[in-house]
């Protein structure tokens, strides 16, 4: 139990750090582009909204930093992330709330598929180390270094422009109504195919390579040799003795991998104009919509922290040593 408590404590600390970075960023950066924005929006904003933005971006010169920080935390606690400039005057929270499910669906699905398939491939290539399957390694190495968005551009060109198999932009057909109806679901799935395949292709090589290397390392352990000497079925040697141990570093380092996948997914969404928060971040940056951009950073970070907590729970289930508070 101490293990889980420690992990939760760490993520709370990390969340607090992200919030504080978010608070400090506009104050530390040279010049304050939000000031210009506020001047432009003068008259269009209610006094409360102006005040909220001033607290967020350090423009309320008459108050102390500590006071601003407390007010900022208070606003956050009430889910107030400010007003979007791109979608003026919609609150940032509403804008993000509409985009988030798309990203969770797309990135969540792609990450799970990529992790499962990549890990299984890594197990096989690792077990058959030294065989002809090793020719896959240079190809996987190349794939692991390809930028997601470049792969996305290629996918758009090939499957969207040349072959015309899938739509290349957006998350659903313009004529569909969002909801639980068949045409919408079909349309959403066909729009998600290319972005999802891009994310899976670009991220899978990392899982294959790291799983393969860990598998080769673990297969050199005495307990695997012993499992062979026991005459256990190959399946049990590979899975229970090899893969069960080899997967531990992958789960432990999930944070790092997830960070890269999320980063790649943001750019992939931008290419496909997919209505998730990655594309939203792209729009926010293009329109100098700082309230929206910063809120998205915060939301992505917290989503990644939650995913990490889940990975830690899985790790605790996989490794009895971690559960008992050694790690």
């Amino acid at each position: 139990m101490r293990y889980y408590a420690r992990r939760v404590g760490f993520y709370l600390l990390a969340a607090w750090a992200a919030i504080t970075i978010n608070f400090l960023l506009p104050r530390l950066m040279p010049g304050n582009p939000v000031e210009v924005l506020l001047a432009r929006l003068k008259g269009h904003l209610s006094p409360q909204a102006t005040n909220a933005l001033e607290i967020q971006f350090g423009l309320a010169h008459h108050t102390s930093l500590v006071h601003e920080y407390v007010s900022y935390l208070n606003q956050l606690a009430h889910g107030q992330l400010g007003i979007s400039i791109t979608y003026f005057p919609t609150p940032v929270s509403t804008v993000i709330g509409e985009a988030l499910p798309w990203t969770v669906f797309l990135v969540g699905f792609a990450t799970i598929i990529s992790f499962i398939v990549g890990t299984l491939l890594g197990i096989i290539v690792g077990w058959k180390r030294g065989s002809r399957l090793d020719v896959l390694l240079p190809a996987t190495t190349f794939l692991s270094a390809v930028p997601y968005f470049w792969l996305a551009l290629l996918a758009v060109l090939l499957f969207g422009y040349v072959l015309k198999w899938f739509p290349t932009s957006g998350g659903f057909g313009l004529t569909d109504t969002i909801g639980f109806n068949l045409p919408f679901i079909e349309s959403a799935i066909s729009h998600a195919v290319l972005p999802a395949v891009t994310i899976i292709l670009a991220s899978i090589a990392g899982w294959v390579l790291s799983m393969r290397n860990m598998m080769v390392t673990v297969l050199g352990e005495d307990y695997v040799a012993l499992a062979e000497a026991k005459g256990l079925p190959r399946r049990r040697i590979i899975m229970t003795y090899g893969a069960r141990n080899a997967i531990l570093p992958n789960v432990a380092n999930f944070a790092l991998s997830l960070g890269f996948i999320v980063s790649g997914a943001i750019l992939t969404e931008a290419v496909f104009a997919y209505p998730g928060i990655g594309y939203l971040l792209f729009e926010a940056v293009s329109n100098e919509d700082f309230p929206l951009a910063q809120a998205i950073f915060l939301v992505i970070t917290i989503a990644v922290l939650v995913a990490n907590l889940l990975a830690d729970v899985v790790y605790g289930m996989l490794d009895p040593r971690a559960r008992q508070g050694e790690a």
Binding site: S144, G160, G231, P249, G264, L318
Partner: protein, 686 residues
């Protein structure tokens, strides 16, 4: 791209220890030698090419990359080798000019981030205490905060910062993983003697970090630098692609930004965005290839997987089982076949490494009799553990069984022995553990850390006794655990919850689950303290009397074998040099090496004798001369010893007729030239 940043668990990416006394250049040499694998060479070649382009690119570009022409969106032609853009700019020129900005930002950001990581990582690892706690938490926080979103927000605040801003943003968001890896390395260095000495002598901390330890961390730092360059090149491209790269200059990322802005794909203008993306991917691949090679150096198991691959073709042929010559005159003479349980003949095991074949077990022949304990003794590195693995046929690559035979006689009346090396895979998995079980040296490593004791005891039952119920299997697990004196309440413990002695008992219990006829024990008590060692040996003696299994007991501790073994084989440099009854070996060691081994250990109960070591060290198994391998260290050497190898043959009287020894001192042909009383086996009799 994940794998590039997580080569292995940082704790396992341990560098080969370099001696502090060695000069910096020789340390680097030791650490980089053998790194030039094909993948590293390919990586360096690609990277070198791009570095050259970065330098000369702007001078060899055919056109001004920003010059617009009327030739818009033209495909590759002789005039425009890579076609033109929406505004008629030459793609090849943009690419050549852009290489410099992309590479510059990547290498600068890589360098700054590496410096940051080294500073935080070494400070954290070397200073320790509260500073370490705080810096570790900081590192871990930056590790879980996704880098690109933070970089995007940061870059958005500095829209026209140019390359410098990019370098700052990228290094500020990318350092954390490397800092963590370097911290783990520094932590392991901190405990080394020379760092402790430097601290004790009051060296300043900065000096400690930069003069004493950074050189030893260099290989790890170099790898982290390459990873960070890769991170930087991808992040720069990503930021530029979002329009945050300062659109005034040319870089690969900016080219992709414009290609995407002008929807190049919707006009089929693949030549516009394929080349810059390919360049990014190629540079990334080259860095990953170099790191991949470095991983192989730091993690020898990855290396051996590669070697196994290159040797697979030649290792494929099955070892010939007809290799055992003159069985009648050989070691089996004097025994009836019925008494022999396992017959090892001309057994040879080789490690096929980059530096040549290491013949770890050479032409070993012996018999294991029913119900006996056969001890195998020798110094570390003599091939005894390799022999144990190979007899179980669980040798790890790059070890290969080159030749010889393993014949097993399950019952005294069996018509023909079973050849273990040529049996089918299906038969082999039935035979394993049922007939032959094994206990390894370090029980911590031989127990699977993630499943509990009961599971590890019962899984062999599940596959070998498929008709048993779960209750029967669990009852048997509790029974064997009780046999080694462990309470059934430990069934649900995990290996890390047990003491060293308990783990070793569990490993022994595991070997006995199916009541095998042979148990191979490789240094089963070496890692334990003497008291526990004694208890386990006594327990083994009892179990053997009750269950009647035969044991091959491998150890460096000859005095232990004198008590426990019926017969002893002494190994040196991969071969058996003496084989005989334990009490005879104790009273009359025949081979000079056995004599030396016997004097290495004090005997508590016996008469006082001087404990001496054997001068010198074992020979290099890669290049054994055609001579007695012990000749350089032998105090009894004859002229003949340096000219050819002695064979394992019967010793001359008064040695017992079942004693075999490989030494010219016992060769009748040499007898004439020997002064009486020189022969070790006879000297003690005189």
């Amino acid at each position: 791209m994940t794998a590039v940043f997580q080569p292995t668990d940082p704790a396992q990416a341990t560098t080969a220890a370099a001696t502090p006394a060695a000069s910096l250049s020789s340390r680097l040499w030791v650490n980089t030698r053998g790194m030039l694998t094909p993948s590293v060479i390919a990586g360096l070649a690609i990277l070198g090419l791009f570095v050259v382009i970065a330098i000369i690119g702007p001078y060899i570009a055919p056109d001004d990359p920003s010059a617009t022409t009327a030739a818009i969106l033209q495909g590759p032609s002789l005039h425009h080798l890579l076609g033109t853009t929406q505004t008629g700019q030459d793609v090849l020129s943009e690419l050549l000019v852009g290489t410099r900005a992309s590479m510059l930002v990547a290498f600068l950001a890589g360098a700054v981030a590496t410096a940051l990581a080294v500073l935080i990582g070494t400070a954290s690892g070397l200073i320790g205490g509260l500073a370490d706690e705080l810096l570790s938490v900081l590192t871990n926080i930056f590790l879980v905060i996704p880098a690109l979103p933070l970089a995007i927000v940061l870059a958005a605040y500095i829209p026209n910062g140019g390359e410098i801003a990019l370098v700052i943003v990228i290094s500020a968001t990318g350092w954390s993983w490397s800092a963590r890896v370097i911290r783990v390395q520094a932590l392991s260095l901190r405990k080394r003697d020379y760092v402790l000495a430097a601290r004790a002598s009051g060296e300043s901390r900065m000096r400690l970090i930069f003069v004493d330890t950074v050189p030893d961390l260099l290989p790890v730092i170099a790898i982290q630098f390459l990873s960070l360059v890769l991170f930087a090149i991808l992040t720069e491209a990503g930021l530029a692609f979002l329009g945050l790269g300062g659109t005034g200059s040319w870089s690969w990322g900016n080219m992709l930004y414009w290609a995407s802005e002008d929807t190049a794909w919707s006009q089929g203008a693949w030549w516009w965005f394929v080349p810059p993306g390919l360049c990014i991917a190629l540079v990334g691949t080259s860095l990953a290839l170099i790191n991949f090679g470095a991983d192989e150096v730091l993690n020898p198991r990855l290396r051996s997987a590669r070697i196994a691959r290159s040797n697979r073709a030649s290792a494929a042929e099955p070892p010939s089982s007809a290799a055992g010559p003159e069985l009648g005159a050989g070691p089996a003479a004097g025994d009836s076949d019925a008494d022999v349980l396992l017959e090892v003949r001309n057994f040879t095991v080789t490690y096929r490494t980059d530096d040549g074949a290491v013949r770890a077990v050479r032409d070993v022949s012996f018999d294991l009799h029913r119900g006996e304990v056969l001890g195998i003794a020798g110094e570390s590195g003599c091939g005894k553990t390799t022999l144990a693995y190979a007899i179980c046929q669980i040798q790890r690559p790059p070890a290969v069984i080159e030749g010889g035979s393993l014949l097993y006689r399950p019952r005294a009346d069996a018509a023909a022995p079973v050849d273990l090396l040529t049996m089918t895979a299906e038969d082999r998995s039935k035979y394993r553990w049922e007939e032959m079980a094994v206990v390894f040296q370090s029980a911590m490593n031989s127990l699977n850390p993630v499943i509990d004791v009961q599971n590890q005891l019962t899984d062999s039952l599940t596959s070998h006794r498929p008709d048993w119920t779960k209750q029967e299997r669990n009852a048997r697990a509790a029974e064997v655990l009780a046999m080694v004196g462990i309470s059934g309440s430990r069934l649900h413990s995990y290996p890390h919850e047990l003491s060293g002695g308990m783990r070793q008992r569990v490993a022994i219990a595991m070997a006995l689950v199916l009541e095998p006829s042979i148990v191979i024990m490789d240094e089963p008590t070496t890692a334990l303290d003497v008291v526990v060692q004694r208890e386990i040996i006594e327990q083994l003696t009892e179990l053997r009397h009750a269950l009647k299994f035969s044991v091959i007991f491998i150890t460096h501790d000859l005095s232990l074998l004198f008590e426990f073994a019926d017969r002893i084989a002494v190994m040196y440099a991969g071969s058996i040099v003496e084989l005989g009854k334990a009490d005879r070996l104790y009273r009359q060691p025949a081979h000079p090496y056995t004599l030396g081994l016997g004097t290495c250990f004090p005997n508590v109960s016996g008469p006082l004798k001087t404990v001496r070591g054997i001068p010198g060290s074992p020979p290099d198994l890669r290049s054994l001369p055609d001579a007695c391998p012990f000749e350089p260290r032998c105090g009894y050497r004859l002229p003949v010893c340096g000219t050819r190898q002695p064979q394992l043959t019967f010793g001359r009287p008064p040695l017992h007729d079942q004693t075999l020894v490989a030494c010219f001192l016992h060769d009748p042909e040499q007898a004439a030239s020997l002064p009486a009383g020189l022969i070790p086996g006879q000297a003690s009799n005189a």
